[in-house]
């Protein structure tokens, strides 16, 4: 067997919230250094897949390995960008403070962030173009700005793998461009990115790797090889037609 280095290796993963499985028997190999889209219809289990990789949800069966080891041993190698709707933005804190939270993992228990961590957070804020909002109350940020703050928080983690749950949801074209540029830069730096994505039109433009998911894994591979009508139809149902600009 050829030993190829996989950033994430998923075997026989099955997840259920109540009775119906949300993910069924997923096998997935994500090579290091890809910018991968996870696509599929609503309820396909895309967010659940991300949460299962991160250990937020306990699977019924199967295993997830990050660079060959369980997630618990690799927490510092993985950064997570949740859906921005998953938190209450009326929480009493500032943009800078939220971004600083990205440093908490490497700090470990009890130790407080200091000037080094603050510097890292400020750099991340600058990267996402939010430096001027660093002292802004988070409830006063727009949707696009909130998304950038979450991205900055993940950047601070300085991880090898980035898992993002719909980072383009509800952001305007400018923010989307800004975010995708950062993602492409991360890939250039050798990072692995897994992005739950909804806009099929932009898949070929933004991503080099794609996974089709609908409770079961449909296909996974390079965008130029497998992003076709056949797989789209299998994932979204018979009537689904999408124009792919080639």
């Amino acid at each position: 067997m050829i030993q190829k280095k996989y950033a994430i290796q998923i075997d026989d993963l099955t997840v259920a919230y109540n009775y119906k499985p949300v993910l069924w028997d997923i096998d997935l190999l994500i090579p290091e250094g890809v910018l991968m889209a996870v696509v599929g219809p609503n309820g396909a289990g895309k967010s659940t897949l991300i949460k299962a990789i991160l250990g937020i949800i306990k699977p019924i069966a199967g295993s997830v390995k990050i660079f060959g080891k369980p997630y618990k041993k690799q927490v510092n190698k993985v950064a997570y960008v949740p859906q921005k709707g998953s938190v209450d933005w009326d929480f009493p804190t500032t943009s800078l403070d939220v971004v600083m939270m990205g440093t908490y993992g490497s700090l470990g228990w009890i130790k407080r962030p200091g000037s080094k961590e603050k510097k890292q957070a400020l750099e991340a804020l600058e990267k996402v173009g939010m430096l001027e909002f660093k002292n802004r109350q988070i409830s006063q940020l727009s949707g696009g700005q909130q998304q950038r703050i979450f991205l900055a928080r993940a950047l601070v983690q300085n991880a090898s793998i980035y898992l993002m749950d719909e980072p383009f949801q509800g952001v305007d074209a400018t923010t989307e461009k800004a975010i995708i540029n950062i993602l492409k830069e991360l890939r250039k730096a050798g990072k692995t990115l897994v992005v739950v994505h909804h806009d099929l039109q932009t898949v070929p433009e933004y991503f080099d790797w794609v996974t089709f998911l609908n409770v079961k894994g449909i296909a996974s591979g390079q965008v130029k090889e497998i992003f076709n009508d056949n797989n789209l139809t299998k994932t979204y149902g018979i009537n689904y037609k999408v124009a792919i600009n080639k």
Binding site: I56, M101, W109, S142
Partner: protein, 371 residues
């Protein structure tokens, strides 16, 4: 009793100190409950402690306040973990689980209390004081216990400050960073239960949750900073305790618990009305002022567009031509003249140089969005 008595009376001083400390710890831990959207949890916990109070008496046969509080603590904790278990394992939402456990435990508690009343034991009287609380029964030892629990929870809070803040804001993310969220959750919940149990003797089962929520809700109105909010909530809580005790001591026959809760509630009312950033009154005032300003700006830019058609920006125009414009009133014209943005003469108006520049900059600013 007059004010001098209040400061020299030893018993009263003990009681005041006790209610102040109780208010402070409730404000501090209540902030967590409010920010975790678990406001009702406090209510459920305090009601859930009632069967423990009754059982402690039935089992031991003595009315030792410490044993009774221990019973309340155990029963409160059992109730809390049942609530968490129900929410986690069934499809019931947390408000349903809270309501269910609250009424179940409270019902059981009342049942046991009536059972005790029928027991042939002269010692029975007085357990129902835990329903509404009786601050007058506070003794030095109670205050010492309250102070040490407050001290310990303060140390824990400072120690795990970063982890608690993270958990409050984004529990899933906390987990992905490798923190044991279960441990943190149990720690917070344990101290909330402890604070509630400490307050039962003073404020009682039924009103206890107000002690937890009111200072925190009031504090949230004044600040956008978590540590300031917790400090403020503690101060509001402590002040409620002090004022509540003072009022009930100087007015005959007013029971302390309800007075403390009413004072805490008035902190909430005042905060909701008068806080500068979130308060209703200032928000309404800001809203009106903004509308008026926008109105003036709109009128000015409308004039600017007319003036742009002429080489001379201060070319006079008839007021009549503004009639098509909805925002225009005589009052707004006078206001603009007061600000030297336009000049009026007879039935004519003209932009001043200042007005022209102002309008140009408004146009430019509104063309650029924030995001």
């Amino acid at each position: 009793m007059d004010l001098i008595d209040f400061f020299t009376n030893y018993t009263l001083r003990t009681i005041t100190l006790g209610t102040a400390i109780l208010g402070a710890i409730c404000g501090m831990l209540g902030s967590f409950a409010v920010l975790r959207k678990q406001s009702l949890l406090g209510d459920a916990i305090s009601h859930a402690s009632l069967p423990g109070i009754a059982l402690a008496f039935i089992i031991t046969g003595v009315k030792d306040p410490n044993l009774i509080l221990l019973g309340a603590l155990i029963s409160g904790l059992i109730g809390t973990f049942w609530i968490k278990g129900i929410t986690k394992r069934t499809r019931l939402k947390s408000d349903t689980a809270l309501g269910l456990i609250l009424s179940l435990f409270f019902g059981l508690g009342i049942l046991l209390l009536t059972f005790i009343q029928k027991m042939p034991n002269a010692n029975q009287a007085g357990l129902d004081k835990y329903l509404f609380g009786q601050a007058a029964t506070l003794v030095e030892q109670d205050v010492l216990i309250m102070a040490s629990v407050t001290g310990v929870s303060l140390i824990v809070l400072l120690l795990f400050w970063k982890e608690f803040k993270l958990l409050l804001f984004d529990p899933d993310y906390t987990k992905t960073l490798g923190f044991n969220t279960r441990f943190l959750d149990i720690l917070i919940t344990f101290f909330i239960v402890l604070a509630i149990v400490l307050g039962l003797q003073t404020v009682g089962v039924i009103l206890m949750s107000a002690m937890l929520l009111a200072p925190a809700a009031a504090a949230r109105q004044w600040t956008n900073n978590l540590s300031t909010m917790i400090i403020l909530a503690s101060i509001f809580g402590a002040l409620s305790g002090i004022f509540g005790t003072a009022i009930s001591a100087t007015q005959n026959n007013l029971s302390t618990g309800p007075v403390i809760v009413l004072i805490a509630a008035s902190f909430v009312l005042i905060s909701f009305a008068f806080s500068p950033s979130r308060g209703l009154i200032f928000r309404e005032m800001r809203f009106r002022k903004n509308r008026k300003e926008l109105h003036l700006k709109k009128t000015l830019t409308f004039m600017y567009r007319i003036a742009q058609n002429h080489d001379n920006i201060s070319h006079p125009h008839a007021i009549r031509i503004l009639n098509n414009f909805q925002g225009f009133t005589k009052k707004s014209l006078l206001k603009l003249e007061n600000q030297e943005l336009i000049s009026l003469s007879g039935k004519q108006w003209a932009l001043t140089k200042k007005g022209y520049e102002e309008a140009a900059s408004i146009n430019k600013k509104l063309g650029k969005s924030d995001d």
